[in-house]
Assembly symmetry: C2
DNA sequence: GATCGTTGTTCCCGTTAATGCATAACTACA
DNA sequence: TGTAGTTATGCATTAACGGGAACAACGATC
């Protein structure tokens, strides 16, 4: 970006932080044949599972019920070509969950779209003639 | 990857209608200080009010309860610099509602953003490496 | 002055989504 | 062999939201 210039031709007169008035906002997600596949909440959940190695710890860390977290994982697994999360019961620590390569791909694909979307929103908000 | 070869440059081979697999979808809206200001449902409602000249007929035409429609109009009116909808009780036909200039501006502003967003979604879906 | 369809508002209900709790099955490890 | 913490699942409860019915006030037109 590099605002660099002295001039600043009126276009960005609006000083970032002080920006008030109407804003364009929104949500994006990736949909499969059976409804939502990956969205913001789901991708955060995936990354928490990656970080903690278990669905239950991931759920607790984001104050989500285990029940709900499990259903999200199940939905993603049933929808991917191959599962995004692999689970194991019993054993050290009682079991756990890990993210597959397919899961990592999904995470990256979503963040790419998400970042482009944030740029889109910023641009549209700036161009709002309202 | 670039299948280097002659065959199928992969880019627009995907035949519009047959497009299957994951899609990028989403929603956009314009937000004011007090939450959602204009979204898809609200703008359709505004246009129905414009068409029918009454909130109740507009609501019926889209199978929405009058109460809900009224709340949406109220929310928009309280949020705009000036009301988007003006109402009158009593009189010919029992009263009615009309769209103000501010309301027309809001409608146009939203559709502009919305159309850009549809293009964005199409592009992102096409570029989905997933 | 009676009529009529609307605005504006209140109250009750059904649906849906998520939470909370309870429990069975599992297995590496001490 | 017992323990621990997890996955997987069922069920009852709660919260949020919109729908639907009801009703007063309104005022141009007949």
């Amino acid at each position: 970006m590099a605002p660099s210039g002295h001039k600043r031709h009126q276009k960005k007169q609006d000083n970032e932080a002080v920006m008030t008035g109407p804003r364009v906002r929104g949500k994006v997600w990736i949909e499969g044949e059976k409804g939502t596949f990956i969205g913001y909440g789901r991708v955060v959940l995936l990354q928490r599972i990656q970080e903690y190695g278990s669905i239950s710890r991931a759920a607790r860390s984001m104050k989500m019920s285990y029940r709900h977290a499990w259903e999200l994982v199940d939905s993603m697994n049933r929808q991917g070509r191959t599962p995004l999360v692999e689970t194991a019961t019993g054993g050290k620590g009682g079991g756990g969950a890990t993210i597959t390569t397919e899961g990592e791909n999904a995470i990256h694909a979503f963040w790419r779209v998400y970042n482009n979307f944030q740029r889109f929103l910023k641009k549209e908000t700036a161009n709002l003639d309202f």
